[in-house]
């Protein structure tokens, strides 16, 4: 069928001329019992972006959102007859409709923004996948029960296994699978350093108005700081918690656009034996559980402080992304 692409393009063009079909529907997995860290971050990013654009939307939780999505990834939005999935295509779809947050940026800033977005997608997303699917403790006690929660036995085990294989394969190709946890935290630290440096002294990444980068970073930082990690991977939130600018930025977006009290708590550590499925769900909203950093994470901090040359490598990374 040679004319599929053509008809798609025509449909897209025609769609661009149509007025906004209101409201937009955002499909995502169930937040309380099903969604996993990487998906949660992406869903939050899209929600933040839509709110920043001032678009009305309606969240539709579906257990099979991942399978409904045209690309197989969540979230996706239904806008009239159109289905658009994932953050980047959603952003370009919305800008084709005329509401863009990055329209006024100069060419250099735009290129920078693309570079930072790739940085986040290449580092934070992979780190989240790693924590969920490679770290054995998290995999067994959190990821598998949550991912399989919407399917009956024995389908849950089969689908968990399939998904694990799929993610492992992907991380292997990207060279993340064989990393140690410390290396992963190191990558996250690099990424955050670059982001925090860009943010230095400003409200948003590009001046006083938010852009899609702000939405994306908000989504990831919020997901990473509010998710209670197991002791084995609590270094993740500890790593992020040291970047005060990013936490502040996240808090600001949260209060401005989500009209919620900031519930970002840094360095939460849950003891393995007291943790259950329920405490997980309920504790995301609690402020009280501010635990001091554990000895492990202190050791980690010291280890990371030795690497002073991180910033340079980060800049190098950025340049590569710009070229890419």
């Amino acid at each position: 069928m040679p004319d599929v692409l053509l008809s798609d393009t025509i449909a897209m063009e025609l769609g661009a001329q149509e007025p906004w079909p209101q409201p937009i529907k955002l499909y995502q997995p169930y937040e309380v019992e099903q969604i996993l860290l990487p998906d949660n971050a992406n869903c939050l990013a899209v929600q933040a972006y839509l709110k920043m654009c001032g678009l009305e939307f309606q969240i539709e939780p579906r257990s099979n959102a991942e399978y409904m999505s045209p690309s197989g990834r969540v979230p996706f939005i239904q806008c009239g007859a159109f289905l658009v999935s994932e953050f980047d295509p959603i952003v370009s779809f919305i800008s084709s409709k005329g509401s863009s947050l990055s329209g006024e940026l100069g060419a250099t800033d735009k290129a920078d923004m693309r570079a930072y977005i790739s940085l986040v997608n290449n580092v934070l997303v992979n780190a989240e996948q790693y924590v969920c699917w490679v770290d054995q403790a998290t995999l067994i006690s959190v990821t598998k029960p949550r991912h399989g929660s919407v399917y009956p036995w024995p389908l849950n085990h089969l689908l968990n296994w399939q998904k694990q294989n799929q993610i492992t394969k992907k991380l292997n190709v990207l060279g993340w699978y064989n990393k140690s946890l410390d290396e992963v935290f190191g990558e996250v630290k690099n990424c955050c350093t670059a982001l925090a440096e860009r943010l230095e002294g400003k409200t948003y990444f590009f001046g006083d108005e938010p852009t899609e980068l702000d939405a994306l970073v908000y989504g990831h930082i919020h997901a990473l700081t509010t998710t209670p990690f197991l002791p084995s991977v609590c270094g993740m939130s500890a790593t992020i918690g040291r970047f005060q600018q990013l936490i502040e930025h996240c808090r600001l977006v949260n209060t401005l656009y989500f009209k919620k009290e900031s519930d970002i708590s840094v360095g939460q550590v849950y003891l393995h034996d007291t943790m259950s499925q329920d405490s997980f769900c309920n504790s995301t909203g609690s402020l009280e559980s501010l635990f001091p950093l554990t000895e492990d994470s202190f050791a980690m901090l010291k280890a990371n402080e030795k690497n002073d040359s991180l910033e340079e490598t980060c800049h190098l990374d950025l340049k590569e992304f710009v070229i890419g």
Binding site: S63, N64, M68, L83, Y151, P152, P154, L155, L158, L159
Partner: protein
């Protein structure tokens, strides 16, 4: 049967020496025409005979008393004696010669049904030796066992699709009819089907039980509904049949299937929102009475089949599904056969926690189903995709005649029939409730009934499948239906 010609009984022959080369010839005859029950004719032709001067006189076989003294089974290698014995014991109940022949035929069918033997020959001879009775006969079944492993590549047509099948099977593994078979088929519409099944027959009592366990994986593309379905599952089937060849058959099945529906690109959201994996765990009962004289072009007899399926024993799919199929044939004249076919089905949910997926729904339409409509072309639709319904009925009345002037009579020409038909039906989605008014429920027989009429030519393929080429005129239809004026259909099941 009545009277047939028989040989003089006073000419005993030495079995196994002179007649061996004739065996093959007899088998050939037998295979060619074994549907006919006038079986003794061939028996007579096959046996060596002395030229007789006087014309053979008609003999009433029912008056020729006979007693089966011995039954021999030749050619058993690894098949165990007990299952073969259980099949042939009824030979000893024969009272007269006709009875012997009828029972021999029946036993041959039973031995064939064991699935252990390739060819089965039957000899009836007078009994000799010291313990022979005056009216005694000896019956010899010459069997040849199948090889340990068999395989083949063949083509098949089914459900409007041609496919190639690569199969291998190991018959009679432990000597009691157990077999293992594997099959892989690939269709021209990129559907694939892999199945491995183990079959264990229990044939030693009057009730034949066949237990089949199979694992399968199928992929089907359904462009009319806009999705692709992948099934992977396990099926346990217990078939019950009186005597192995009776007309009443029961099947009890358990099926556990993991279904994955992937929506195609341009599909309505109604279908898309049902994509994803689901697990069906269901019990099914199939009861079938088949008294037709042929599968594809029957001239007399009828078929009644009930299917009840209860899903929801585990898994996340829950429903009760009932289906009824009926076919009745009547031939008032040699050249005219009327056939009435009726199908109906009802699908009900059992609880709100259990879903019903689009692939559990009923669909109507197709060249061998409700003729005149495209595949799944009748019934509820959403943005051009057929979404199926939960209750349907379809009725078809055919009139079959042989080809005019009977070209290729008794050979190639008998594969064809001309037929004229009128068929109708309805499929809706009315979330059937029994507490509602009956007239409300019966609206399916009055509102939006589809009806088409037409004529065409039908052909049988290998006595299992049929091909139809039809020209159809629609009489009653609904705006959203997809109609077709010319239809070519190939399939195993037909309305």
């Amino acid at each position: 049967m009545g009277t047939v010609l028989a040989k003089e009984p006073q000419a005993p022959r030495e079995f196994g020496t002179t007649s061996h080369n004739r065996t093959d010839q007899k088998r050939e005859d037998y295979r060619k025409d074994y549907e006919h029950s006038a079986y003794y004719d061939q028996e007579r032709d096959a046996l060596p005979r002395k030229p007789t001067l006087d014309e053979p006189k008609p003999v009433n076989l029912q008056r020729v008393r006979a007693r089966v003294d011995k039954v021999h089974i030749d050619g058993l290698v690894r098949t165990k004696d007990d299952i073969v014995k259980a099949q042939v014991t009824e030979m000893f109940k024969a009272k007269d010669f006709q009875d012997v022949i009828v029972r021999a035929h029946k036993v041959r069918g039973k031995l064939d049904a064991l699935g252990c033997f390739g060819n089965i020959g039957v000899y009836i001879d007078t009994s000799k030796g010291s313990d022979a009775t005056p009216e005694g006969v000896e019956v010899t079944f010459t069997v040849s066992e199948m090889k340990r492993i068999m395989g083949g590549i063949n083509t098949m047509v089914g459900n409007n699709e041609g496919s190639i099948i690569i199969g291998a099977r190991a018959p009679n593994i432990f000597g009691r009819g157990e077999r293992l078979q594997m099959e892989y088929s690939y269709g021209n519409k990129s559907s694939t089907n892999v199945s491995v099944s183990a079959v264990k027959p229990f044939v030693d009592s009057w009730l034949h039980k066949v237990l089949t366990a199979s694992v399968f994986s199928t992929t089907n593309d359904l462009p009319w509904s806009g999705y692709k379905q992948c099934d992977t599952g396990f099926l346990l089937d217990l078939a019950l049949n009186r005597g192995g060849t009776g007309t009443l058959k029961h099947n009890l099945q358990y099926e556990g299937t993991y279904r994955n529906i992937s929506a195609s690109k341009q599909v309505t959201f109604r279908v898309r929102e049902q994509s994803g994996p689901s697990l069906k765990s269901a019990l099914r009962y199939i009861g079938c009475i088949d008294k037709r004289d042929s599968l594809i072009f029957p001239t007399t007899g009828s078929l009644i089949q009930f299917t009840t399926e209860v899903a929801g024993l585990g898994g996340n799919i829950g429903f009760i599904k009932n289906e009824f199929v009926m076919q009745s044939n009547w031939s008032p004249h040699e050249f005219a056969t009327f056939q009435l076919g009726f199908q109906s089905g009802l699908l009900q949910g059992i609880s709100n926690d259990m879903q019903i997926s689009i692939c559990d729904n009923f669909f109507l339409g197709g060249p061998l189903n409700l003729r005149g409509f495209d595949m799944r072309g009748c019934g509820p639709r959403c943005e051009g995709n057929s979404i199926g319904g939960d209750v349907y009925w379809a009725l078809a009345l055919h009139l079959y005649t042989p080809l005019p002037f009977r070209p290729g009579r008794n050979s190639f020409g008998d594969l064809f029939r001309l037929h004229g038909f009128i068929n109708g039906g309805n499929l809706t989605n009315c979330s059937f409730k029994f507490d509602r008014d009956l007239t409300e429920n019966l609206k399916i027989f009055t509102n939006n009934v589809r009806c088409t009429t037409g004529a065409g030519i039908a052909m049988k393929l290998g006595n299992v499948a049929r091909v139809e080429l039809n020209l159809i005129m629609p009489l009653l239809f609904v705006r959203s239906d997809v109609l077709q004026q010319f239809q070519l259909g190939i399939g195993l099941q037909y309305l």
